[in-house]
Amino acid sequence: MLEARHLTKKFGTLTAVNDVSFKINDGEILGMIGQNGAGKTTTFRLLLKFLEPDSGEVLWNGKPLTKKDYDAVGYLPEERGLYPKVTIEDQLIYFARLRGKTKKEVKPLIDEWMEKFQVKGKKSDKVKSLSKGNQQKVQLIATLLHEPKLVILDEPFSGLDPVNAGLLEEGIKELKEKGACVIFSSHNMNNVEEICDRLVMAKDGAMVLNGTIHQIREQFGRKKLFLETPKTVEELALMPGVQSVHLTRDGVKVLALQDAAYGKEIFEQVTKDGYISTFSQQPPTLEEIFKMKAGEQHE
């Protein structure tokens, strides 16, 4: 279990991380979202003890993280890099040995992982001969090969196509099943929604959202209504509590409500004449929440 308690880190006059707290249980995945410069990478560096917090603490299984715990860490930095002139196998073994594994232990696992992530290339290939995407996969393998218990991934999805992003999602889920604590940052809300148990959103160093995805979305209320009805946009706009109506290309009308409670009344009106194929009242998507929160002015 990883716990961050009131972490604060200042660089000169800039507060990069401001009173950030969260908890990840074993077998849980925490997604960290936020714009560039929101303090995600700095938070990860605080977790890894690369930086000393000005205040607050990081606890791993209730105790401060020590050198011994390094072996259980899997860290993927935001900017990627491997030794270009060293073979895939040699560097995977080197990184695993630095995490306390022996060559014997990890050597048989390499083929398995390369297959799992569909790395194109032989393990005797030098890294510089691989495409960027494949290099990234090799680095992911280097992060996960030693079966870490605390996995920190900084923007793991950036640069991956949807197929490979899917493979990575599978990989992360597998770690979770093995009981690892996973924390990752992302810009892509789809990945976050898909695999996260909990979510933290950072803005200007502070946490603006924290909770499960369900909780977070529900706290914004079900103010969006998707409708497929013969009624025109103008007719819908006149209904009670409707702030705006927007027609999508597929012919779905999207209504923004003043309050979720108006939903019931609208339901009755649009179904008066019988069957309609869509009536769906939804909370805002993560992406909408993200944009909303990112756009808010700092009080």
Partner: protein
Amino acid sequence: MNKFWIIVGQVYKKNVKSMGFLSMVLSPIIILLVVAVIIYFVAQSESEIPKIAVFSDEPQVVEALTSQPHEEMTITTAYQTPQEAKADLEAEKLDGYLQLTEENGLYTGEYVYTPQSADVDIEQLTNLLSKIQLEQQTEELNLSQEAVETLLTPAQLKKTRIEFRGGGGITTTDNVEDAIKMGSAYAVGIAVFVFIMTYSSIIAEEIASEKGTRIMEVILSSVSSTVHFFGKLTGIFLICLTQIGIYAVIGLIAFQFPFVKELLAGVDVIALLKGLAGTSLVYFLFGVILYAVIAAFLGSLVTKIEDVSKAVSPIVFIALGGFYAGLFAFYSPNHLVVKVASYIPLFTPFVMPFRIASDTVSTAGIMVSVLVLLLFTLITTGVSAVLYRSNVLIYSDSGMFKTMKTSLKGLKKT
């Protein structure tokens, strides 16, 4: 296995396996071979013997010149007039001609040649003539052989240096030993410079490339920065020892060949090795370590591998300064600047071997300089190791000094 040795092994294997290492080890040998080949050919071409004609109104001098063959030139009387000789000179059939006149038993002459002519040692020609002149003069003056010898024997001077050390004991050294000492000091000077240059850039590149590719972040979440720092240094140091070892083996093998033995016949190899293996080796090793540590520190300051050469340029200049101070010490080991420089740790490895070779420093002085060098290396290593951790995680485009400042600030806080 200990993580320290995993890093040492990785650095060592990666570098020794690389093409760069091979060329680094072989290039001095190839340069030596090329120089040897050039010297050989120069020596060969020198054996082209110039052919010169001689004209004089005094037949006895022509006879004396031509009566016996000379090793370095062929003297011919085949030409009747200087005009004839000139014609052949133009046709490059002749290398030059000598026209001699005599006045009161003294010869004066003119040697005529063209730029295309094979070189004639004019000094030797003069000596030859002087000898003939002297012989003719002694004959004329009726001097005995003994008298001539007495006249010609120069005053004899013998060089004896007396040194007064602690107990008042007296040591004298002869010139051959001196030359060997100076020679080995010179070799150490060049070796220190070459090794410092090569290994400084290797270690700075190692670190800057890991920092630039962010491998550093992964490594530092596996091991402590101190382990990483010393692992890298140890790995590089072992590579350095490997290179020296390879040279030793090559030297031993080369020594089995008779022509190498012949070549080194005039040199007391054992004495040379003794000179190298003594205090000079201590200076050599500490010199390389000290500069490698500073290079590692500078390498940790830059963000991109392209900036490495910029980062290590202070080292290059300091080492170059040291190297020239060493050359200066070669000529005037007692100069105040040399004396001072020999105690400045960054210059000691270059300068002190020359002072030891010329016996211008006391044993106490040597001890002090080794001690100062040792302490300075230890302190530099300690400070570098501490700063290393914060240096390698700072990525800034604003340059090395900014990085250093940020790094120091970070240090104060923790």
